[in-house]
């Protein structure tokens, strides 16, 4: 099972209320994924340096101490927000370098996301509880992805929860299961893509990160993914300024898209879209199998 949702704002009003809509959509997908929930929120882009989202098992973690050390190493480090087990850290450093530094010096922490725009939050437990814990309703931003997980191929842990980000500002959520992820993971590792779990979805995210690194556009990367990724999937993918949806050619996993003048939304089932303002008058359609759908900020 699993439920996925995505919301891409096309108006300032939706950007201001993005978190509230995300929480409503996620709650509708609770029955499809009661084990854990997670979101990727694209908001507050940094103009210089980078932004990391970090996770600690210890909810009383001393983020200021980490910030001090990060500041010593790179300079300009701040912790603008802490939500439950996650903290957002800004630092005057290249995002990839900062990520490697945190992994090396703070092995007890997990880097959930790195880039200049993305923030990822995920935790085990029911989606409604997760939304409360992380005060999702407060979030403003340009676009979001959400996932509710019914675990099938790996354990129910915070780390194994979705979304996965294996490239800067890149995020992927997945409903389905891949069958060639072990072989593909080894191939990608040889090309320098790092993985931190045994999860199949992380391999799909890593594959896209690799394709984008090699110069492909989001659309090209997904089109090549149709050939290279074997299994059942509906993917929703986000980059700093883009949002995409792809279903495998057999299309066993559900997806519905809807668009109004104010937003583009994707969900596993329509009732997660029905909670959005103006949904009754939205253009609603089922994405065709094996067809890449992409929206980009500049083009909207």
């Amino acid at each position: 099972m699993c439920g996925i949702v995505g919301l891409f704002a096309k108006s300032p009003a939706i950007e201001e209320s993005l978190g509230r809509h995300l929480a409503a959509m996620l709650a509708q997908m609770s029955a499809r994924g009661p084990d854990s929930a997670g979101v990727a929120v694209y908001r507050n882009p940094v103009t210089s340096g980078s932004k990391l989202t970090l996770y600690s098992r210890d909810t009383l973690y001393d983020w200021d101490a980490l910030c001090g050390q990060l500041d010593g190493a790179f300079g300009g480090a701040t912790v603008p927000s802490v939500r439950a087990s996650h903290a957002v850290v800004l630092v005057e450093a290249d995002a990839a370098e900062a990520e490697v530094w945190v992994r090396r010096n703070f092995p007890d922490l997990r880097v959930m996301s790195a880039g200049s725009v993305i923030e990822i939050y995920k935790e085990v437990g029911r989606p409604e509880v997760f939304s409360e814990q992380f005060s999702l309703a407060d979030f403003q931003g340009t676009h979001v992805l959400g996932h509710t997980r019914m675990a099938t191929e790996s354990r129910v842990t915070t780390e194994g929860s979705h979304p996965f980000s294996t490239g800067l500002d890149l995020c992927l959520v997945h409903n389905g299961s891949l069958s060639n992820h072990n072989r593909l993971r080894r191939t990608l590792q040889r090309d320098g893509i790092e993985f931190h779990t045994e999860n199949d979805t992380e391999v799909a995210a890593g594959y896209l990160a690799w394709k984008l690194r090699e110069g492909a556009s989001l659309e090209q990367a997904l089109e090549e993914g149709i050939e290279d990724l074997d299994g059942f999937y509906t993917f929703a993918v986000a980059t700093a300024d883009g949002f995409a949806v792809l279903r495998d050619p057999i299309a066993c996993k559900p997806a519905v898209l809807a668009e109004t003048d104010d937003w583009v939304a994707m969900a596993s089932e329509y009732h997660a879209i029905a909670v959005l303002p103006g949904a009754d008058d939205a253009r609603v359609w089922e994405p065709e199998p094996g067809i890449v759908y992409v929206w980009e900020k500049a083009a909207v």
């Binding site: 299309a251 559900p254 089932e269 329509y270 909670v275 009754d280 609603v284 089922e286 065709e288």
Partner: protein
């Protein structure tokens, strides 16, 4: 809750924004076996709910204002269900009789395993439309997705638009009529001659569906070549 124009033709209005879905379905189930009750229903605000008007067994008319989720009108007997919107997976699955009309489009497996009745789709039907159908008639104004009519046993599938990959794969005695392009025929599915009796059958189905601007002689007919393992008498146990 009831609002009507004259006694006997009253329309029972149920708003799913305020009434639990189970209450609606229970009230509809209570009409089974010819029990007295409203014969014309209108359902408001379905908002993608699953199993709306599922398991009916009564001669009633139901109109649903909005999009519905999975398995709408599943196992339908006798009832006429009209959705003013689109429907998700498994619409009219295992329908036995009656009529189900969708004014929008439907997701996959519409009319799956249905034994009888008429399913009309004004928009498109996604993958696996009429999969394993066993006697239902399905008329689609738009196109159907891949693997439509897979293992279809009897009944008719009329597609005014195009059909996706593997149409009619492994089909038995169902008849498939397509007016537009076909991405590919499935195993053992072949084109067959469109004779006068077939044109008459398509005309009748289009009339019942209310599509009077479609020429019944403009379709092509597809059926089973009967070459697969299951058709060989020596393979019978």
């Amino acid at each position: 809750m009831a609002a009507g124009t004259a006694s006997g033709t009253a329309v029972e209005v149920v708003d799913l924004a305020t009434t639990p879905l189970r209450e609606l379905n229970q009230r509809l189930h209570d009409l089974a076996g010819g029990k007295e009750g409203p014969t014309h229903w209108r359902v408001l605000n379905p908002r993608g709910a699953h199993a709306v008007a599922c398991g009916l067994d009564a001669e009633i008319d139901i109109e649903i204002d909005g999009h519905v989720g999975y398995y709408c009108a599943g196992m339908n007997q006798l009832a006429n269900v009209c959705v003013h919107g689109s429907a998700s997976t498994g619409l009219a699955e295992n329908m036995m009789s009656g009529t189900v009309v969708i004014e929008g489009s439907v997701s996959q497996s519409a009319g799956a395993s249905a034994h009888g009745g008429l399913l009309v789709v004004h928009g498109d039907a996604a993958a696996r439309c009429g999969i394993s159908m066993k006697g239902v008639d399905i008329v689609v104004r738009g196109s159907v997705g891949h693997l439509s009519g897979f293992m279809a046993q009897s009944g008719s599938l009329v597609v005014c638009g195009d059909a996706g990959e593997a149409l009619g794969d492994s089909l038995y005695e169902a008849r498939i009529y397509v007016r537009g392009e076909i991405a590919g025929l499935g195993a053992d599915c072949v084109e067959k001659e469109l004779r006068a009796e077939h044109v008459a059958q398509v005309r009748g189905l289009l009339e019942r569906a209310g599509f009077d601007d479609v020429d019944p002689s403009s379709f092509r007919r597809y059926g089973s070549a009967r070459e697969l393992y299951s058709f060989k008498i020596d393979n019978a146990y």
